[in-house]
Assembly symmetry: C2
Homo-oligomer: 235 residues x 2
């Protein structure tokens, strides 16, 4: 009975933080006046307090108050007690390390699977997959495991970027990186472009937003899916 929004990015070009997601918050967090924010991923290294203030400002537009997990002595208990949860983006390695260090990973998985509404953006979305192994982030810290929440039975690549045919850069494209992932791992990967999100409603997973998404399966040619596609059978 999972209810979640897993969004590729927090912010669209030219928009405010979470702006395009705010209209969808009342439906996700029905009847909830305060949510728990997990700021562990610290984008650009900002503090937990600064990051929570930023989330708070955005959520206030939907009439929802925000409390940072760092304000609680027992982080795992804060998750258990939360009426709704939002995990922001930043560095996925740091996020996952902190989720394990604070003994939050398993509790978070449990409460979200039991119905606590969850939203993730970027790194907060990446951890919704089976593992964090299709993150784009730098390994700035060594987490005890790459395993994540598994709210969906596949992996997610947020901020998915199409190869640039004009590029003279020889670093790997996102598609090549995901192909390398499939050399060693078997779960499908969804490349979520900025502006797309996955809506999880009970056992249904639906692609939302205006864009298509790209699906990568081991030993198969990648393909595009249209918005509103039911992805419940992708595994």
């Amino acid at each position: 009975m999972t209810h979640a929004i897993l969004a590729s990015t927090s912010t669209l070009h030219g928009q405010d933080y979470l702006e395009y997601l705010i209209p969808h918050l009342p439906e996700l967090y029905q009847g909830i006046d305060e949510i728990l924010f997990i700021p562990y991923a610290r984008p650009g290294g900002i503090s937990h307090g600064e990051y929570t203030a930023k989330a708070s400002e955005a959520f206030s537009k939907a009439g929802i108050k925000v409390k940072g997990i760092h304000e609680f002595e027992n982080h795992a208990k804060a998750v258990t007690d939360a009426k709704g949860i939002f995990t922001g983006g930043g560095n996925t390695f740091l996020l996952v390390s902190e989720l394990y260090r604070n003994k939050v990973m398993n509790v978070l998985k449990e409460v979200v699977k039991n119905g606590t509404p969850y939203m993730g953006t970027s790194a907060g979305t990446n951890i919704g997959g089976l593992s964090m192994q299709t993150t784009n982030d730098m390994p700035i810290v060594y987490p005890p495991s790459f395993k994540t929440l598994g709210l969906v039975p596949f992996n997610i690549n947020p901020h998915y970027l199409d190869p640039d045919p004009e590029s003279k850069h020889k670093g790997e494209t996102r598609e090549t990186r995901i192909k390398e992932f499939h050399g060693l791992n078997s779960q499908p990967v969804i490349g979520l472009r900025e502006g797309s999100w996955l809506e999880l409603n009970d056992n249904k997973v639906t692609l939302k937003g205006k864009l298509r998404a790209r699906i990568f399966e081991k030993d198969k040619v990648p393909f595009e899916v249209e918005t509103e596609t039911d992805l419940s059978d992708l595994n």
Copy 2:
């Protein structure tokens, strides 16, 4: 007494594999007719054999034969016995995992520090730094440690890319990622653009190639260094 070339990329736009580095091989591998190739990083998932054939073709232009480490029963002994070594690019997580799994990491560090000439490109260069934590690669496999060879007392970011002022993409720029690295780590990072390499000659580290490189130090404003800059004191 390290002698090494640590190159940002194997291949420049519009050139053949290793083309721009081949003129420098005779000086690095002086009097050496066969080198050991470490193909562990498997770019795009190609096999060790295919990758070794590719390296072999390039090295033949400098009159040097290539043997893949996978052709030996004891990989660590192959490293000890090698007259010269080249580690190719691909996925750094896979490379580092295999270096540890085959008990090659420490032996490789030892022989290169004792004078066995070494060349790395991309992932093979990244491991020349203190840790692999400024790689751009996807964590497709979980290595036992992020610690690498430490041929230089700083970290390397290969394929360094300047922020694109026109970009509408909201994924982190390379500079932001390195800043996040410095939120948790103190060693300097050199952003090596494609076409640049570090030349290690005994205790001297020099920036080579036609381009400038970008130096990131914790809590300092990043700055550019010109080619031929002596970087021996960067640490």
